[in-house]
Each structure stands twice: as C-alpha cells, then as structure tokens.
C-alpha cells in the first residue's frame, strides 16, 4: 500500500539513544527537541498576545491593503455569494415567523454567520465532503441545496431526504456530499476526521480519484465536548486532509464564551495538537474565502494534514425558536452588532463602492428572493407526509422480522381505531405498513 514519496506519520518515530554526550536536551520520547533550561518558568497564557484576526476589508467594506485583489473571483460570483447570504437571512425571518405561528415545530436562524458559511463553502470543491453542526444553512445553499429541498425538510414532507425523521434544520444531501446533521453536539468532528482519512486512503488505492478534503463545522461551545479533543488529536496523528471550521459567535445558547473557556479562543488549542491554525474575521467573506482556499490547499499537500480555522462572529439572533436571548444579553448590544457590523452589509458596502450594486438592485433582490421562499414555503406545506413505512425502514439495511411484526401490529391498531389517527396525511396511507 505504501507509495513512494508519501511519508506516513506513523512511520516517523524512531527510537534512539537517550542522550548524546554533551547534549543540551534529553531524547525523551514524549517531547522531542525540548532543550533544558536552568530558569524555572511556568508558561502563562495571559502573557501571550491573542492570536490575530485576519481580515481583508473593514466594517465599511473598504479593502485594507489596496494592492491586493481580495476576491479571486469575478463580480458575478461575488453577487451570487451576496444573494446566497441574503437568501439565508430572508428565509430566517420567514421561518422564524412560521414557527411562531405554529406551522413548523422548530427553527434555527444563522443571522450574523452567513459570511462564514457562504465564504468557506465557496472555496470548496463540489466533491469535498461536509459535516455540519446546524447553523450552516449558507454552506448548503452555496453548494446548490434548493429552497424546495430546504422547505421539504422543514415541513417534513415526503420529499424530505430525511423522510420526516429529523427535527427541522437537520439537513443533508447525498448529491452535495453533505452528511445529515444530527443534534448531539461535536459528534460529527471525529467522524469528519475518519471521513477525511477515508478520502486519503481512497486516493492511495486509486490515484485517479481527485484529491478531496472534509470540511467540518462546529461552534465554540461544541469545542468544549470531548469529541472535539478526540477529533483534532486523531486528525493530527493520522495526517487527515480536513479543515475544521469553528464558528466562534460568542454564545452557546446563554453561555457566553467567558464561561466556555479560559484560553485564547479555540484557535490557541490547534497549536497544542500540532495543527496549522488561523483566526479569521467571520464577517469578512473575502477573508473567510481566502483562508479556506489556502487551508484546503495545505490540507492536501504531501502526506496531508488537518487545518483549524476559527472564524469570529457574533450570534445576532436568538439561539433557536425555543430561546429568548434577551433573557441573558442586552438588546442594545445585539442591535449594535446588527447595525454596525455584519457580513451582509459589509459585502453590500464593498459592492456599492465598486459600483456593481445599488439600492434598486437590493430592493429587487430582496423582493425576488422573498417571493421564491414564500412560493416554496406554501408548496412544501401542501405536500403529503412521508409514508408510515418510513418509520420502520433504514433502522437496518433490511427491515427485521421483529419490526415487520410491529408494522403489522400498528396496522391492526389503526384499523381497529380508525378515528384515532389521521393516516391520510401520509403518502400511501395505511397500505405502506404491509
């Protein structure tokens, strides 16, 4: 299996003598190249300066270093990113209201984080594999997830890829290489490491397979889970082609980051795992995109390696429809973030400065997106629910004899008490239980 030119991380350790004569360090296997010191000094994190935040444009959409072209893409592409961010934001408003009216059970907006999602996804290849947490609607839309697919999931109708089994916002797409979102936090992170190892192996088995990475998203709260630690450590030791994207939006529900960790954010941890790390301004879509393009490239170089990107932002919205965030933070603070700095207005200002966007275009874009969202909304709401059979399918590859018995029993029960159940809303009615 070993191919020339590829150095495996697991091959690199070699035992040697404990200490050469006159050496200034011992070859302790646990920390190579550590020099002796006669000065007793505890390293204090507070003495280090915080890792800088990379940005290309300021809050007013001005490019900081005018000698550079920040986009690495034509204007039409930039407008597309803008429209995708706008779509997420408009859908957020409509679906939040829809939940308030009781038309869906749940929703989570991603206001303030559209730039991280759309910017990073724009740097990925369609073949790359994505693992999401739940606040990355922009990744899906940028990769081509349609509004119809989104609405089908939110309304749990028969066109939902998840067959009506998951809560709203738990999207997934086989076609777009986005694994279905699950609620347990951080569980996707070690899975993403394993998936990245699989991609690396597949290319080793067949060099004609194009190089691919895994992009794995999570919030700064999820990074406190043990799975985060497990994932970064194993990705580093097994040299996996993966980019970890942490959305640090300052809050995990009501818990502010000051109660979440004591170190320099999530980025400082990457170095401890031996992972190349960068912190980026998440409200600057150009910076996020550029960082992600470079991270992807580095992840695939040589024997492959993981990269950690900490994208800073502010969770402008409530955590979810089940949360009123003004119970734990000032409304004024939120309003200020909304008004003064967010990824959508920042890019809009840049586009206006460049002369490719104006008030009329903005009005037209908002109106047409709104219309399309509402159209898909009402269409999806009317579609039948998935067949009852879908409740029993896909637990195993085949339905077990035990589950077959239970399907029969459920059918008998519904037939005995027909008025107790509204099976007509499900495609195929009771027949699918046969």
């Amino acid at each position: 299996m070993h191919k020339p030119g590829i150095r495996w991380a697991s091959d690199s350790w070699s035992s040697g003598p404990a200490q050469k004569v006159g050496s200034d360090s011992v070859n302790f296997p646990g920390a190579l190249n550590s020099k002796f010191t006669a000065t007793m000094k505890f390293q204090n994190p507070a003495e280090a300066t915080a890792m800088p935040t990379y940005r290309i444009m300021d809050a007013d959409g001005n490019i900081i270093d005018n000698t550079r072209d920040p986009r690495a893409a034509p204007d039409e592409e930039v407008i597309k990113w803008y429209r995708n961010m706008l779509t997420v934001s408009i859908m957020d408003l409509i679906m939040f209201d829809a939940q308030r009216q009781g038309r869906t059970s749940f929703y989570m907006v991603s206001a303030g984080e559209e730039g991280i999602a759309v910017g990073s996804a724009s740097a990925l290849s369609p073949d790359d594999v994505c693992f999401l947490q739940y606040r990355e609607q922009g990744v899906l839309i940028q990769r081509g997830f349609t509004l119809k697919e989104m609405m089908s999931q939110l309304f749990s109708n028969k066109d939902d890829h998840g067959k009506g089994r998951n809560m709203p916002v738990h999207y997934g797409s086989g076609k777009l290489n986005v694994h279905t979102i699950s609620s347990p936090l951080a569980t996707q992170i070690p899975q993403a490491s394993g998936a990245a190892y699989a991609l690396k192996m597949q290319r080793l088995i067949n060099p004609n397979v194009p190089p691919r990475i895994v992009a794995c998203y999570f919030g700064e709260g999820a990074a406190s889970e043990g799975d985060f630690h497990a994932a970064l450590n194993i990705a580093a030791t097994k040299s996996c082609p993966i980019v970890f994207v942490c959305r640090n939006n300052g809050f995990a529900i009501s818990t502010a980051s000051i109660e979440q960790y004591k170190g320099d954010g999530i980025a400082s941890r990457g170095l401890g795992y031996g992972i190349d790390t960068i912190r980026v301004d998440g409200n600057d879509i150009f910076a996020v995109r550029e960082v992600m393009l470079e991270a992807r490239k580095r992840a695939l170089e040589g024997d492959c390696k993981p990269i950690l990107v900490e994208a800073m932002s502010y969770r402008v919205s409530h955590h979810s429809t089940s949360d009123d965030s003004f119970a734990y933070r000032a409304k004024r603070e939120v309003e200020e973030w909304k008004r003064r700095d967010n990824p959508i207005t920042r890019l809009r200002k840049w586009m206006e400065n460049r002369g490719i966007w104006d008030e009329d275009k903005e009005k037209e874009a908002r109106a047409s997106i709104r219309k399309e969202v509402l159209r898909e909304f009402s269409a999806a709401e009317k579609v039948q629910k998935p067949p009852l059979r879908a409740m029993f399918e896909d637990v195993y590859e085949e339905i077990t004899p035990e589950a077959q018995e239970q399907m029969k029993e459920l059918k008998r029960l519904i037939e005995r008490y027909p008025n107790e159940y509204n099976v007509k809303e499900h495609e195929g009615g009771i027949k699918t239980l046969e």
Partner: protein
C-alpha cells in the same frame, strides 16, 4: 541482556507457591464446579472431520487447529486481503494487540491500514463511523468492553441512527465493526470483566454478536466485516482467546448474523445462552443428564444477541415447555429478561414452569468474588433441576 545477568545476583525474595491465590478458587472437592476440560467439550471440533462435516466441506479441505485469537486473526487477515477498504485500528493494535488478535497484520498490510490511534474511545468510534460513512470498512477495536462507555454516545446516537437519519440521501455507516474483548477472566475485577451487551441490545440499528468458539468467531467476524451493511458490535469472550481450541476450516466462510444455533438437541428443557457460559451450560447439562435417567436437554447458542432469532427459541420452547436463560451480565434488564418475556408471549400455552434466569448477581464484578458472582455449573445445574421439578 544486562538486566538478565543482574537478575541472577538478586536472591529470590518470595518462595514460589503451587497454587494461585489472587482469584477466588474452585473448591477441590467440587463435583459440579470443575474446570472446563476444553478437550472434551462436545460442541468444539476435536477432529478435522467433525469440522469438515459441520461446514459441509470435502474430505481434503484444509483445516487448522486454532484458538480464538488465532481464528479472529485469520478472519481479519482474510477480510484485509479480500477488500482494500477494510481498515483495522484501535489502541495498540499495530504491534499485534494486547490479546494478539492483530498479530502480523501490520507487516503484511502496512501502517496505513493497520494502525494505532490515540487513547480515546470516543475518538476511535467517531473516526470509524466517519471512515464507514465514506465507504470504507473500518474494524475498530476497543481494548476492553469495560472501556466502551466513552464511545457510548457515538455508538447509540450516531452509528445506530446514521442510516435512519440520512434516509433518502443513502448515507450509512454499515461497514463499521467494533470489536471488544468482554466477559470475566478470573481476575479482571471491575474494569476487565464486564459484559455490556444488554446496553447495546436496547439500541435499534446496532447488531450485537458474541461468538463461543474459534470456528464460530471466524465465520461471524468475516460476515460482520465483509457481508454486513449494518454496524456490528462484535464482543469476544476474552477468557476463550487461548483456552478454546478446535479445528477450523482454513478457507474463508461466513455464518449468518441473525440465526441461533442448536448445539444439542433435547426434548425436556431448553437452555439458552451465548459466548463463554455455553461451556458451563454444556457441563451442567451433562451432569444433570447423568443424574436423571432419560432426561434430554436442548442447548441453544443465540450467537446474535440483537436482532435475535426469536423464531428458533420459540420453536424449541414450544417443544420442551421449559426454559433456562444463562448469561454472565447482571440480572435486571439483561438479555435474559428479553428472552424470558418473549418466551412468555410466544410459548405461553406450552410453558410448564416459569422461565428461569441464571445471571450475574445485581452487583459489580469485585475481584475476589468472581466465582460467586457469575453463573457457574452448580447454579445452572440447580436452576435446570428446579425448572424440571416445578
């Protein structure tokens, strides 16, 4: 070498003793609780021909004398050779594993396919799920079943529900196999003795399999890795790794993952068990059949703990009218509870005695108390006798 030479100079401090005392002992006068004589166990293949006959092979089919870890190694070797997408990883597997199950595999298949992971069970299982989700066939090893609990979330919320939540996307992690040594070993105490299978049988989406012998382990593990599109928890009774030896077909073969096996036909009583306690059941049945003239007891190996072969058990109990379920793990909500309740539903009119459960007591596997805690031959004997006399 240096250390060896010095060792001669050190006077021996402790006198050797003939008897090991670190574990609870069998009584020397025991009539029932005698050590298992593996050479005489009726369901092991002691001759090449018995193995050939059992697997329907020709008279010249190659056969090897193997113990359990050797058979597992042979199965892993075959799977790795057959399918390039098979990977094997966990803690300390690269040098051959702490129980020698992966011996020699790194040399042959390389460190990209057989490798050590950092010491993190949730990481191992999460990593394996991701590998499987991208089409590989990872065999993840948890060093002891006692240490699977850090990975419980990944197994229960993730591996088991992966196909279900992916739905029409077609995503799944069916290539996943998680191997773990389980069960008592004489002196494993709290954290080298556990049998947590019942915790997994309460989880739809996982297959739970426990082999009893080398030949069975080889076929079941090969099925789990190469033929199953569902995640499999493969629990290996570690006390059998070296102890259980028999003739095993050299050529690869598979055993279905959802079928029980009747080890001994009988008409008066059905004994249901799996894994290591089958040896105790077999000895207990032999003793009881000797003591009660004309008695014949049916012994069934569940093999698949979940999803399990209800039909085979019902057929047997509907014939015998009496049943005893035996397992090492704790009584309450153990596998025996499910089997007993199912028998009550499926053979109610035929039952002539309550279904008995012989299990570990409702306590922890304390070091010195093992012999009193897990089912032994005397307890199984007693339970069968009382069920027959009811």
């Amino acid at each position: 070498m240096f250390a060896c030479r010095r060792a001669h100079l050190v006077p021996r401090i402790l006198k050797p003793r003939s008897q090991l005392r670190y574990a609870s002992q069998t009584s020397p006068e025991a009539h029932l609780n005698k050590p298992i004589e593996f050479k005489k166990v009726p369901f092991l293949y002691h001759s090449q021909n018995s193995a050939r006959t059992a697997f329907g092979l020709s008279q010249d089919a190659p056969i090897d004398w193997q113990n359990l870890h050797g058979a597992i190694n042979a199965s892993l070797h075959h799977a790795l050779k057959t399918d390039e997408s098979v990977l094997l990883f966990g803690e300390d597997v690269a040098f051959g594993g702490v129980f020698r199950c992966s011996k020699g595999l790194t040399d042959e298949f390389g460190t990209s396919r057989i490798f050590n992971t950092p010491l993190s069970e949730q990481g191992i299982v999460g990593f394996a799920i991701g590998c499987a989700a991208e089409g590989m066939k990872p065999v993840a090893e948890i060093q002891f079943a006692d240490y699977v609990f850090p990975a419980f979330d990944q197994l229960v919320n993730e591996a088991a529900k992966f196909r279900y939540r992916e739905g029409a996307t077609g995503g799944h992690c069916g290539g996943l196999v998680v191997r773990m040594p389980c069960g008592s070993v004489g002196h494993g105490a709290l954290y080298h003795s556990q049998s947590p299978e019942a915790l997994f049988t309460h989880v739809p989406g996982l297959r739970v399999v426990i082999p009893r012998s080398p030949a069975q382990a080889k076929g079941l593990l090969t099925s789990s890795i190469l033929n199953s599109n569902d995640p499999v928890i493969f629990m290996e009774p570690k006390i059998l790794y070296r102890a259980a030896e028999e003739f095993v077909p050299r050529d690869p073969y598979t055993i279905p993952l959802d079928k029980a096996e009747i080890l001994k036909k009988g008409k008066d009583l059905t004994v249901i068990s799996y894994g290591q306690p089958l040896y105790l059941c077999s000895a207990a049945i032999e003793a009881l059949e000797k003591d009660i003239k004309g008695l014949s007891v049916e012994l069934i190996d569940l093999r698949a703990i979940y999803p399990w072969d209800r039909a085979a058990i019902m057929e047997s109990v509907n014939k015998t009218g009496r049943a005893v379920v035996v397992h090492e793990s704790m009584y309450n909500a153990g596998v025996g509870a499910e089997v007993a309740a199912s028998i009550q539903e499926g053979a109610f009119l035929r039952l002539e005695a309550p279904v008995a459960r012989v299990t570990g007591w409702s306590t922890h596997p304390g070091l010195i108390f093992e012999k009193y805690n897990i089912p032994d031959i005397a307890r199984i004997y007693d339970s069968m006798k009382r069920t027959l006399e009811y």
